[in-house]
């Protein structure tokens, strides 16, 4: 595990130009865009992107065959990829949250509590995104994986629309349910959302292990 993390960190350092550019763009965004949720989501997603790009690096030139001849297991590989994604996404989230808090204070648009609340509400969305994208990336690899993941996000969106339509035709009061959720304690709602997203992430990890165990190199 330590060796794999070492490899991925070193591969990430090789992309330092990309990293600097992203940090630069974020600072510019922070100066121009007042929507802090966009800044935090954007930078956290970029953090996740690093783990996706390391999967592409691993696959390049049939590198996986050699990688899995080293003292690692397929399960260990999956755990490392999720861990690396959370580490990078988490670091970027902290960095972006700090920028958001500072910007909110300087502009006097958001209180620290408001900025933190927005930052915490983004966590479950980001975790769900990671939970969806990673298995696709591991199953289909680089380009195909990204296309499949985008398609999956589209499917989820269509399913939600479908559910909304069906509940409407069946006269189920979905908006009433949503209103009830809105009236719930925000903190409780946030904690519940994070708990659900962690559950989905664990399920996603399990699916990824199955995918990797079936793979041949």
């Amino acid at each position: 595990m330590k060796g794999l993390l070492q490899k991925d960190f070193r591969l990430m350092v090789k992309q330092s130009k990309f990293f600097t550019t992203i940090a630069f763009i974020t600072v510019i965004f922070a100066g121009v865009v007042e929507n802090i949720s966009f800044i935090i989501s954007y930078l956290t997603f970029i953090g996740f992107m690093f783990t996706l790009s390391t999967i592409s690096y691993d696959e390049f030139d049939n590198g996986n065959a050699f990688l899995f001849s080293l003292p690692i297991t397929r399960r260990g590989y999956v755990v490392e990829k999720y861990g690396f994604g959370l580490l990078m996404g988490g670091s970027c989230w902290i960095f972006a949250t700090l920028i958001a808090v500072v910007c909110g204070q300087v502009r006097r648009t958001n209180s620290i509590n408001d900025s933190l609340a927005v930052a915490f509400m983004i966590i479950p969305v980001m975790l769900l995104l990671l939970a969806i994208i990673l298995p696709f990336q591991l199953k289909f690899g680089g380009e195909k994986g990204r296309i499949a993941a985008i398609a999956m996000v589209g499917i989820v969106f269509i399913v939600f629309l479908g559910v909304a339509k069906i509940t409407k035709t069946m006269h189920i009061d979905l908006s009433g349910l949503l209103n009830r959720i809105e009236t719930m304690d925000t903190r409780m709602l946030g904690v519940a959302a994070i708990a659900v997203s962690i559950g989905v992430l664990l399920l996603s990890g399990r699916i990824s292990v199955t995918i990797m165990e079936k793979k041949e190199f």
């Binding site: 330590k2 070193r10 065959a65 050699f66 260990g76």
Partner: protein, 283 residues
Amino acid sequence: MLKIEHLKKTYDNFSLDCSLRIQPGAVTGLIGQNGAGKSVTFKAILGLIKADGGKVTILGKDIQDFSVKDKQRLGVVLSDSGFSGYLDVRDVISILKNLYETFDQKFFMKQAQKFGLPMNKKIKEFSTGMKAKLKVLTAISHKAKLLILDEPTVGLDVVARDELLEALREFMEEEEDRSILISSHISSDLETLCDDLYMIHDGKIIFHEDTDVLLSDYALLKVNDSQYAALDKQYILRHRKENFGHCCLTNQKQYYLDNFPQIAIEKGTVDEVITMMIRGVEE
């Protein structure tokens, strides 16, 4: 060290059924044409592909039960795969240090210098020879018990090949019970390095012999039609019709030297044995 019993793997137009055994302290060669099943065998041994049947036992353990710790006792070179080309040698050292408890950094650095491997150049910018040297160095730098080397000398010039073979000999001399399974297209590499040779053809092992025996007892008999008719064929393994008459492969050179002094007898080489075993007809 390694025991393979009827390892089976079937693809659309290829079927592997391979059995072989590597003794402690031995260097065993696996030879065969392109597509004969060498790489499939290596990948199945390493668990990179799932076998359809058979049993692989490495260092006394079934491959299915092989743990991370067990894998630390293997050194592997794959012909078509290695570390990411975006890493450099310093990165590789750092990764190996974290992967292998027994990684010998001092040895690695010394050998890297000897092989002329630059520390801060990306692997993708290395020459073929440098890449091959790095692969072998990676395999031999953590005191492995068994090396599994698939075409480690492919694409190398004579000098580079010699350097690598020398490194492998030194690896074997360090500890008595170390073993190597190696495949190569270059028969001279195998003749000088291996204790015994397996030949694989169309996914099956068709030949196994000690290298010393192969080089001393195997021979090609070049005979015309009448000599062929009179020849005692009990020790002829394969024969092939050629322009001048017949070419016969035997594993009893001395018998024919003693009893048929009038016929042309040529010393057997790995290349000739391979050719005859594949193209010749069984007597």
